[in-house]
Symmetry: C2
DNA sequence: CCTCAATGCAACTCGATGGTTGCACTTTTC
DNA sequence: GAAAAGTGCAACCATCGAGTTGCATTGAGG
């Protein structure tokens, strides 16, 4: 599918190393080896992370001669942001957060 | 801190069960036991997830008599969405994604 | 042709974490 | 006051995933 499940995208973003990778790839295209030289993990580890990121569409890759160059996809992140914003707003349509708790006089779900 | 690191919030969102919990809590306040009755995991498991969600500010809780009621915090999700959107846009200020790769005539980083 | 750099794939380690059960404690309710 | 419901805490288990090392392969260049 072109639109991965939201939790999957979030999971991909939920790792410090991947976050680092994305930050670098956000500044400009890089190869796995280049990333491995900069980050404190092996080239193979970088490769696995890149695969995860590619699966959820946060990274695109292109073979360029003997190396593969990767780049961060802003559009995908934007799409995620949009979805999360929508969801967040829908939550807010209720009384704002904890206030609603004080409103409810009693659970009265004793049935 | 009042503003957890982005990767942490994303990690919290990167679990299917927690996503389920958040969805329910987005519709209205619920207790851990109530959630456990609806979801296919134990009350203790729910409790752990709620703690994770509370740590990153996605959920607020309030003791109400013998039970504790939890509710999703839209503002926190909105804040995350805003950050992600900003980051995504910054990526886009470069040539859009893979196009930049084609632009670059050669790595010429042979030094 | 030979060497070096960049990859891909596979096997393995090991710590984090989702999930479970069991138990003790408090509040509501009959 | 006793039973029931809702929690919190702790011990335990199993799986997942991040990271490593090793090896084979392929493209670039002298």
């Amino acid at each position: 599918m072109t639109a991965p499940a939201l939790p999957d995208v979030c999971a991909a973003l939920g790792d410090a190393t991947r976050w680092e990778i994305l930050t670098r790839l956000g500044e400009g295209p890089m190869s796995a080896s280049a990333l491995a030289r900069v980050l404190p993990v092996s080239r193979q580890a970088i490769g696995k992370h890149l695969e995860v990121l590619r699966e959820v569409g946060l990274v695109e890759s292109e073979q360029r001669g003997r190396e593969v160059v990767h780049v961060a996809v802003g559009a995908r992140l934007g799409a995620l942001a949009h979805e999360l914003d929508r969801m967040g707003r829908s939550w807010e349509t209720r009384l704002s957060g904890i206030k609603e708790l004080a409103e409810r006089p009693r659970p009265d779900v004793k049935g």
